[in-house]
Symmetry: C2
Subunit: 112 residues, 2 copies
DNA sequence: GCGGGTAGCTTGCCTGACAAGGTAGCTTGT
DNA sequence: ACAAGCTACCTTGTCAGGCAAGCTACCCGC
């Protein structure tokens, strides 16, 4: 479970960014993809939908439909309690992970 | 190749940690794996060797052999100029990436 | 009805992490 | 010398996930 944390972390960065965004307010898939692409977190929307399916299968997010004024129905995603817990867990782990990376890649004359 | 930066970043974290370690001093594979496993960056040595092969194929590291006082010859890895450049590039990108992640997953009442 | 924009989802390819196993050199015990 | 065991390197096979591309369907203006 120990080394698992790092592995889960590396793989879970984008997922956790989704959870983080959803913790502010519910968003629909298309909107999420534009935000994440804008931040350079994902390269295309093709990455997002399978991810959202996974998150929903894990019970971390739930969905509801809402009409749009111009276009088809939007499927909004919202954090579940489980997702909130997952996000908090990631927040704690991210700090130490980022510190480790910074420490390992940091210039060695930086810690003198 | 444009949105590549973020993708390369996420995938390149562990690779860059290897480069970072090698920027301090040359190390051999076994030693690298113990260090990285200790930091939770990789789960097993099976991850490292293919990675080192990739890094060498890309010309980011070079190798030389050195006798051990107890055991077979050790293959030491050392940064090339290209590897140093790559590492510096990562250092710059990592900061902004980490900030983005922190921003996206950070508690929303944290930036008030 | 048709075309274009919005939105959701799927398919297929490729890369990479990982566990497990295989090879080889050196040391120690008998 | 031979067996056992450690160190060190590398490969193979499996599985998950990122990504580009494509497909479906809804709504609007014409």
């Amino acid at each position: 479970m120990t080394a698992d944390a790092g592995a889960q972390l590396r793989k879970g960065v984008v997922e956790s960014c989704v959870l983080g965004l959803l913790s502010r307010e519910p968003m629909y898939g298309w909107q999420l993809s534009e935000t994440l692409i804008g931040h350079g977190m994902i390269a295309s929307i093709g990455t997002l939908y399978p991810m959202l399916s996974r998150l929903r299968a894990q019970g971390l997010v739930s969905t509801y439909d809402q009409q749009s004024d111009a276009g088809p129905v939007r499927k909004y995603y919202r954090l579940t309690d489980s997702g909130t817990r997952q996000l908090n867990s990631f927040r704690e782990q991210w700090g130490s992970f980022a510190r480790t990376v910074h420490d390992l890649v940091g210039k060695d004359d930086d810690h003198g």
